[in-house]
C-alpha cells in the first residue's frame, strides 16, 4: 500500500527526471522555433541553453507564455496546434526547479536543430528586392494602425492569371518579423502608396480599399507557409503585384530585411477559388479606464460557405475574442476562441476539417477590450482614449473559404464588402492623435 502510494507520488512529481528525459519535450515544443535560424530569441537545443536560463524559462512556462499558441479550448481542431500538454509543462518545470540535472556520468546530448521542409516541386520564389532595414525601436507615427508595420510591393510580372494552392514567406530577420499577410493587386494601388511614401516600401497597413491584407494568406511565428487543402486555390489576376504587410517587432538593433515570397502553383483544374469574408467591428470608442468593453458584430451568410481558415486581427487593448456561428437549425458552433489575445502572435489558423456553414448562418464575432493599466499589454502607459475606425475593420476575423460555386462565392464576397462599406461610411476616418513625443 505504501509502496503504491510512493510510486504514484514519484510518477506525478518525476523528481528523478534528467536531461535525457525532458529533452524530447523541449525538442517537440520549443526547439522548433528556438534554434539559430528560428524565431526564438535564443536557441533551446543544448542542456546549457536551458540550465543557464533555468528560472527565467520556468517562469515563462508557469505563466503559459510559451510556446505561443493563442486559440483556446473551445476552438475546433486546428492544424499545427502548439498547445503544450499539462503533463509536459509540469515535468519540464519540475526538472528546471530541481536544478536541471543530467544523468550521472553522461555527457548531455544536444537536440538536433529542426530541418525546414522544402516547398513542393514547381514552387517559385519572388524576392523582396528593396533594401529595407527594420529600425531598432518603434517609429512614432500619426496613425496607430501602422505602428511596427511596413508594406512592400513585389511585382509578379505575370502575363496570365495565376492559380496557386499555397503561399510562403522566408524572412532574413525571423526573430523580428512576426506576421506577414498578402494581397494581390492588379490595379497599381500598392504602387501608388509606395510612390507617395519617399522611403523604401510604405508605412501603412496592407489593406487595399476593400481587399483586406491576408485575403491571399499569410504567415506568422513558427509558420512559414500556408497550403490550402485539396480542392481550393487562390486566383491572382494577370499583371499583379503582391502587396505584403510586414509586422515586425523592433529588437533594439537595426536588422536588414532580405525576404522572399513563395507561390505554390495549383495543378488540379476542378478546384474552387478562395475568397475572403471579413466580419468584425469597424470602429471602437473606448475611453481610457474602461475595463470590460464589449464589441460585437453579426453577419448573416447569404449563401453556404465552406471555411478553411481564419485570420484574427485586433490591437492589444483587446484581451479576448471569439468567433462563433449560429446555424439556422439553432445550433451554435465556435470557430475560433482566443481567451488571451496578443497581436504579436497573430497568424492564420487552418481548420483540420472544413467548416461547412449553411446559408443563413449568423457569424457572431465578440471582442473584450480592456483599456486600463490593469491590462499589462495595453500599448499605452498610461492608457489613452481609444477612438479608431477603419473600413476593413478595427477588430475582426478574415474567413478564407469558398461558396458552393463561383456565383455563391461572389455573392458572399460582395455582401461582406457591402456590409463593411456601409458601416465604414458611417465611420469617418478617425485618427487618434498620438501623444506628442516627449523631449528626448
Amino acid at each position: 500500500m505504501h509502496a503504491i502510494l510512493f510510486c504514484l507520488l514519484a510518477s506525478t512529481t518525476n523528481a528523478a527526471d534528467t536531461w535525457s528525459d525532458v529533452s524530447p519535450i523541449v525538442s517537440r515544443h520549443c526547439s522548433t522555433c528556438h534554434h539559430d535560424a528560428g524565431s526564438g530569441p535564443f536557441p533551446l537545443l543544448s542542456h546549457s541553453d536551458l540550465a543557464g536560463r533555468r528560472r527565467f524559462i520556468a517562469e515563462i512556462l508557469r505563466r503559459k507564455l510559451m510556446p505561443p499558441w493563442l486559440p483556446g479550448g473551445d476552438s475546433p481542431p486546428l492544424h499545427d496546434d502548439r498547445t503544450m500538454p499539462k503533463t509536459d509543462r509540469t515535468r519540464l518545470i519540475a526538472w528546471l526547479d530541481a536544478g536541471a540535472p543530467t544523468a550521472e556520468g553522461t555527457e548531455p546530448v544536444a537536440i538536433t536543430p529542426p530541418i525546414t521542409p522544402s516547398f513542393p516541386a514547381g514552387t517559385f520564389t519572388v524576392p523582396l528586392d528593396e533594401p529595407f532595414v527594420i529600425p531598432p525601436e518603434t517609429i512614432e507615427n500619426e496613425h496607430r494602425f501602422h505602428q511596427d508595420t511596413w508594406c512592400f510591393v513585389i511585382p509578379l510580372d505575370n502575363e496570365d492569371p495565376l492559380r496557386v494552392r499555397g503561399i510562403g514567406w522566408k524572412t532574413a530577420a525571423p526573430q523580428s518579423v512576426h506576421t506577414v499577410t498578402l494581397v494581390a493587386d492588379d490595379r497599381g494601388r500598392g504602387r501608388k502608396r509606395d510612390e507617395v511614401d519617399p522611403r523604401v516600401g510604405f508605412e501603412r497597413d496592407g489593406d487595399l480599399d476593400r481587399d483586406i491584407s491576408g485575403s491571399l494568406g499569410g504567415v506568422g511565428i513558427g509558420l512559414d507557409r500556408m497550403l490550402l487543402p485539396p480542392g481550393f486555390h487562390w486566383s491572382i489576376p494577370a499583371h499583379s503585384d503582391l502587396v505584403a504587410e510586414v509586422k515586425y517587432r523592433p529588437l533594439g538593433r537595426a536588422l536588414p530585411l532580405g525576404d522572399q515570397a513563395y507561390l505554390v502553383p495549383a495543378d488540379d483544374v476542378a478546384s474552387r477559388e478562395v475568397i475572403a469574408v471579413v466580419t468584425g467591428v469597424n470602429r471602437l470608442k473606448v475611453p481610457a479606464g474602461e475595463k470590460e468593453h464589449e464589441a460585437e458584430d453579426r453577419f448573416t451568410l447569404p449563401a453556404a460557405f465552406d471555411v478553411i481558415a481564419v485570420i484574427p486581427r485586433a490591437r492589444n487593448e483587446c484581451r479576448s475574442m471569439r468567433l462563433s456561428a449560429n446555424l439556422p437549425d439553432g445550433t451554435q458552433r465556435t470557430l475560433l476562441d482566443i481567451p488571451d489575445w496578443d497581436a504579436h502572435f497573430r497568424r492564420p489558423y487552418l481548420f483540420k476539417s472544413i467548416q461547412s456553414l449553411p446559408a443563413g448562418t449568423i457569424l457572431v464575432s465578440r471582442f473584450i477590450i480592456d483599456n486600463t493599466d490593469g491590462n499589462p499589454r495595453n500599448p499605452y502607459d498610461p492608457p489613452e482614449d481609444l477612438r479608431i475606425g477603419r473600413r476593413t475593420g478595427v477588430a475582426g476575423f478574415t474567413l478564407l473559404g469558398a461558396g458552393s460555386d463561383a456565383a455563391a462565392s461572389n455573392l458572399l464576397l460582395k455582401t461582406s464588402q457591402r456590409v463593411m462599406d456601409r458601416r465604414g461610411s458611417q465611420t469617418r476616418p478617425s485618427r487618434t492623435p498620438i501623444p506628442s513625443p516627449k523631449a528626448p
Partner: protein, 193 residues
C-alpha cells in the same frame, strides 16, 4: 579592511535602507582590457550600473534607451557601466554585441558575480543609480527598471513612454529628489553562480 561581513551587511543595508553601503574592491576589466572599479569614486560622483545580457530579448529591446541614458549620464559628469552577468561570455561576444546594438559605454563581464552580489541584482536589465560618498561608500538613488517598455514579462508595450533611469539621472544631476526610487524590473533572471 573590507571583510565579507561588511559586504554582506552592505547587501542587507542596500536592500533595506538604500543608503551608505561600502563597496568591495571590485575591479573588473572591460572587453578592451581597461580596468574599472565601478563602485569606487570621489564623494558626489554619479555612477550608473545596468545589468544586461547579450541574449535577453528584453534587455536587448531596451539597448537604444540604455545607450541614451548612458550618454546623458556622461554628459552630466557621471560614469555608466553595462554589466553582463553570464560568466561564460567572451570579450569577442560582448564586443560584437556592443557593436550590433551600438552601445558605447564600458562593458564589463562580472564573471565571479562580485557586482551581482554586492548590489543584489536579480534581473537583466536592472539599473542602479548610485551617488558616491567617498571611501568606497555610496547611496543607491534609484534601483529597478530602465523604462516602461514591458508591463510585465511577456507583455511588451508599443512604445517607451516613461524613461525611469534617464529621469532619475536628470533629477540627480540637477540635485532634485527622485520621486520613485525603486521600480520592479522585468526581464531575464540572473542565474547566480
Amino acid at each position: 579592511m573590507r571583510t565579507p561581513v561588511i559586504t554582506l551587511m552592505c547587501v542587507w543595508l542596500a536592500a533595506l535602507a538604500l543608503a551608505g553601503c561600502t563597496a568591495p574592491p571590485a575591479s573588473l576589466s572591460d572587453h578592451d582590457g581597461l580596468v574599472h572599479t565601478p563602485l569606487d569614486g570621489d564623494e558626489g560622483d554619479l555612477v550608473v550600473v545596468v545589468f544586461s545580457s547579450t541574449d535577453c530579448p528584453i534587455a536587448n529591446a531596451m539597448a537604444p534607451d540604455i545607450e541614451r541614458a548612458s550618454r546623458e549620464t556622461t554628459e552630466a559628469g557621471g560614469r555608466f557601466y553595462l554589466v553582463h552577468a553570464r560568466p561564460e561570455l567572451t570579450a569577442e561576444r560582448t564586443r560584437t554585441h556592443a557593436r550590433e546594438y551600438e552601445l558605447t559605454m564600458p562593458v564589463i563581464v562580472d564573471r565571479n558575480h562580485d557586482l551581482v552580489r554586492t548590489l543584489d541584482a536579480t534581473i537583466t536589465p536592472e539599473a542602479y543609480l548610485l551617488r558616491m560618498r567617498g571611501n568606497g561608500r555610496y547611496d543607491i538613488l534609484y534601483h529597478g527598471s530602465v523604462n516602461n517598455l514591458y508591463g510585465s514579462v511577456g507583455n511588451r508595450r508599443q512604445n517607451i513612454s516613461e524613461h525611469y533611469l534617464r529621469d532619475a539621472v536628470r533629477s540627480a544631476a540637477a540635485g532634485k529628489e527622485i520621486e520613485v526610487s525603486q521600480r520592479t524590473p522585468f526581464g531575464c533572471y540572473i542565474e547566480r553562480n
